[in-house]
Amino acid sequence: MTVDFLVDWFATIGDFPILAFILAVIISGIPLFLLMALNAMVAVYAERKVSAFMMDRIGPMGQGPGLHAGKWGLLQTVADAIKLLVKEDTIPQKSDKLLFKMAPFIIFIGAFLGLAAVPFSSSLQVADFNVGVFYIIAVGSIGVIGIIMAGWSSNNKWSLYGAMRSAAQIISYEIPAGLSIIVPIMMAGTMNLQTMIQFQSGSIWGILPNWIIFNNPFTFLAFFIFFISAVAETNRTPFDIPEAESELVAGWMTEYSGFRWAVFFLSEYSNMLVVSGLAVAGFLGGWQSPIPGMFDSPGWGLFWFMGKVIFLIFVMMWFRWTFPRLRVDQLMHVCWKVFIPIAMFNIFGVGIWKLIIG
């Protein structure tokens, strides 16, 4: 279900192209927003449970007086969301009020737009661009503007530190991420995510599915560089220096409360979804089944895609609760002196591999 499909369908009813376009966008935007909210709720719950199990705890169990958060604390994030929604919205007196209010929405827009191009299955994609990869990378950087706005306008030194670290980090790590995603583009010869996924059908080496990650050693390496850079771009441990709790209190979110803060949370988790989606589409065969030729109807496609994405998100959570945090200069060192040379090398390698082997 894409926007184009809806526009075409409206065209069969009558001739009102502008209105049809707006309607199509709204109709496909609402489920996307619901998906985003649902994703955040489920992911927060999952994160709390996963972290709890890793730490020998049990996490939210819905215990307490009266009707509490349901069985196993399933309603915990619902309660959190309602509470945050009605919590007082504090705006510091000495902050830049306009920027302070705007920042969460800029970050939200960045996360939301990225979601539009994620190919959930062969037919379920809001907008099937022919430059989908490029689009996701591009709108992914909008968030950093919001982060700097939030950090600067809060008029709080912790926020400023967090924002500056975040900007430096996201901009740096976009380079290895971008260089690594060139590898699947070179392999598939397209920037269109659907075509890229279709390229990955069938099997390779006899047993493995023909996913780009398994295609040759350079793509294998490129996947890991992309994934680690993606973790860094979403500001998660071991790269969570912008909101490093033990150093910067809460980083650029220090002054935010209530709903505006919840929007940050929402965006963080949907960013995780977007980068995992891109990694899955680019390297892990998107909605292709891991057993070539079996379970590859569109319904199964959604299942495989979400399954892979959830696995990657789980790996990110696993990182977060296992690793310590890097320091700013070490972070930059890893990016500029390790990842970028390897990513460059990968591009050459893939090019030569394609020339020689095909």
Binding site: R48, A52, M55, D56, R57, I58, G59, P60, M61, G62, Q63, G64, P65, G66, L67, H68, A69, G73, L75, Q76, V78, A79, D80, A81, I82, K83, V86, K87, E88, D89, T90, E245, V249, A250, M253, T254, E255, Y256, S257, G258, W261
Partner: protein, 163 residues
């Protein structure tokens, strides 16, 4: 919340909304990660594996803006009292305070000769629940938190005071 608070007459819709809000607030009281003295260690112990405050929906936040419950865990000194007050003022409504341990409640063992000890944190911030003990066991703290949740559930945030 200031826009909506205490603006409505009592009726069925408002009453159920009140209930919903009370449920949500009592189910996710995030506490302010703010330890003062010995009791802070017991607070950490109650958040750790064996007692696990997250069972009842408590999550630590280190910024006062995002926290709902301030657990004053330990002795408040004169030098700290002004900071405690400031931190309380920085928290967003609705906010609750738990006075953990006898030091925070009344000065505890430092009551008589502690020239620099504040004799009870309620001299600077309003307290909802007092947890006695020196230091209170994690079970006692959890009991205090559940008492606080019960208190939050009986609140009627939307209903106008008819007095």
């Amino acid at each position: 919340m200031g826009v909506l608070e205490n603006k409505f007459q009592d009726n069925v819709v408002v009453a159920s909304l009140d209930k919903l809000l009370g449920w949500a607030r009592s189910t996710s009281p995030w506490y302010f990660q703010f330890g003062l003295a010995c009791c802070a260690i017991e607070m950490m112990a109650s958040a750790a594996s064996r007692h696990d405050l997250e069972r009842i929906g408590m999550m630590p936040r280190s910024s006062p803006r995002q926290a709902d419950v301030m657990i004053v865990a330990g002795t408040v000194t004169m030098k700290m009292a002004l900071r405690v007050k400031k931190l309380y003022e920085q928290m967003a409504d609705p906010k609750y305070v738990i006075s953990m341990g006898s030091c925070a409640t009344s000065g505890g063992p430092y009551w008589q000769h502690g020239y620099h000890v504040l004799k009870g944190v309620d001299l600077v911030v309003p307290v909802d629940v007092y947890v006695p003990g020196c230091p209170p066991r994690p079970e006692a703290l959890i009991e205090g938190l559940i008492k606080l949740q019960e208190k939050i559930q009986t609140e009627r945030p939307l209903t106008r005071d008819l007095v």
